[in-house]
Symmetry: C2
Subunit: 294 residues, 2 copies
């Protein structure tokens, strides 16, 4: 049986957008792949590395023929992009996004979506600290979760998206937007906030000390610097758009930090030891379910 | 010219002690390698994996013939170990340690060291989240810094230690104890404290949420769980013995965290963006000096 492949449009050719193009090409998951980025520099970089897409410099033209439109832009600009394209989408097209926050994106986009378009919010849990089209690679999504937000997992648009993401190698999970934002606040947003902050703390040191921190960064700190090298625009938007869940988790973390601070001040070794034993168990759970790839 | 190889004794067969044995054997850096661990279970594990050492079950016998004695035990028990062995060391033997804090270890050990013994405090900046003899491997120190504390880098004992550590593949740096403790507080101790804390925060969640945090831990949080799986006893001792520098860095971090928290609350995107740009520069510096191996 010949399966009809969806034509796709990718708006935004950063790490995620360019990886979708490469993964779709490699998997033979798409018909035409048309792409747009609002930066001429990024479009030129995409062209130079031979990204397997038809590059256009008019966003409206990018979406004209698309069965699935991927919005792979910072969450702060999603609504603006949708406003530009919505009236040019095909009847029955699927609109999806790859943003790291979901409630804010849904609240921004839902009012703009007309009745003949299916909006399926999404979030691939994949990434590196690198940005731009040359950071993309075709196996980025392999064995990573791709979360889709849907109240009805059996509707056609959700099935099409599930099928497509699975072809890119991802494991699809359907969940609720608020639950997504809560999970991501603790697994991704707060860790990034902490990493940005502690690397910022170190960058305030006087010159010699800072240089030695950089030189001797091997144990622990280096992991934080990798996380803290992620794209500034994307992350600013994440914190402003998942502020409620992030601030809640941050407050819990600050309270727990005060507990540890006190235990050190009062030389309560047992309290520290018990905490450190408990945290090892979480790591073992992650190893057990095969999610500890590094 | 035939170089006389030093006989070495290793007290403590955790990740570091067993790696010293394996690295010394592989490099042909030592004559006899005699080892002791106060846990019968650890000794039995070391025997079972065929660690290339002469295992003894009396700590005094371990050090009798040693030219260099490595103390690879948690910093909280260093002094107790030295009390047991000091009168059994050879005349002119070098005593060194691998502890992650240096001022406390020096203050604990110096009063116990007799005039005919050379104490060269040390700290290899190498490790993984795994513990015990079976976690050791011969290349652990390769291209990693091994810090030695000495007021006089040209004295014989420091030269012997430098030469030995370099044979294991390490890059030796001589520094002052208090400066060491300050650098390590920010590059290693505070990152570990933060990782233990945030993983602890997550482990307090109700069952379903905790399970989903574990499942979707891919981006950011997983790095923290790896760090937070490190040996509880070792780390409890680190925080209790480098409390001053750790508490100072922790306070700076808490202040910086409040700044970020406020920026999110007040929706000051520029403040966030500027911080996130600044932290990327530190990463680039680490990449530039070739210390970004992951």
């Amino acid at each position: 049986m010949n399966e009809k492949l969806p034509n796709i449009a990718i708006i935004g050719l950063g790490l995620i957008g360019s990886s979708i193009a490469l993964a779709a090409k490699r998997a033979g998951a798409a018909g035409n792949i048309v792409a747009f980025d609002n930066s001429a520099e990024v479009r030129s970089e995409a062209k130079q590395i031979g990204l397997p897409v038809a590059l256009v410099d008019d966003i409206k033209i990018a979406v004209l023929d698309a069965d699935i439109v991927f919005l792979a832009v910072p969450v702060g600009v999603m609504a603006g992009v949708v406003q530009q394209i919505i009236s040019h989408l095909k009847f029955g097209a699927i609109l999806t996004d790859t943003g790291s926050t979901k409630r804010s994106v849904i609240d921004d986009i839902n009012p703009l979506v007309t009745g003949n378009i299916f909006f399926v919010p999404g979030h691939p849990l994949a990434g590196t600290e690198f940005s731009g089209p040359s950071a993309g690679f075709s196996s980025l999504f392999k064995n990573h979760y791709w979360l889709l937000i849907s109240e009805n997992k059996t509707n056609t648009a959700t099935s099409v998206m599930t099928n497509f993401c699975e072809k890119l190698g991802a494991m699809v999970e359907i969940m609720d937007a608020d639950y997504h934002d809560k999970i991501l606040a603790i697994t991704s947003h707060l860790p990034h906030l902490i990493a940005f902050t502690i690397v910022g703390t170190a960058s305030d040191f006087e010159h010699d000390l800072k240089n030695d921190v950089i030189r001797f960064s091997a144990s622990g700190f280096r992991d934080f610097t990798r996380i803290a090298a992620s794209d500034p625009t994307m992350w600013r938007d994440v914190f402003l758009n998942n502020d409620e869940a992030v601030l809640e988790m941050l407050q819990r973390f600050i309270d727990d930090l005060a507990y540890v601070q006190n235990a050190i001040k009062k030389r309560q070794g047992n309290k520290l030891f018990n905490l450190f034993e408990r945290t090892g168990e979480i790591r073992r759970s992650i190893v057990d379910i095969g999610q500890a790839t590094d």
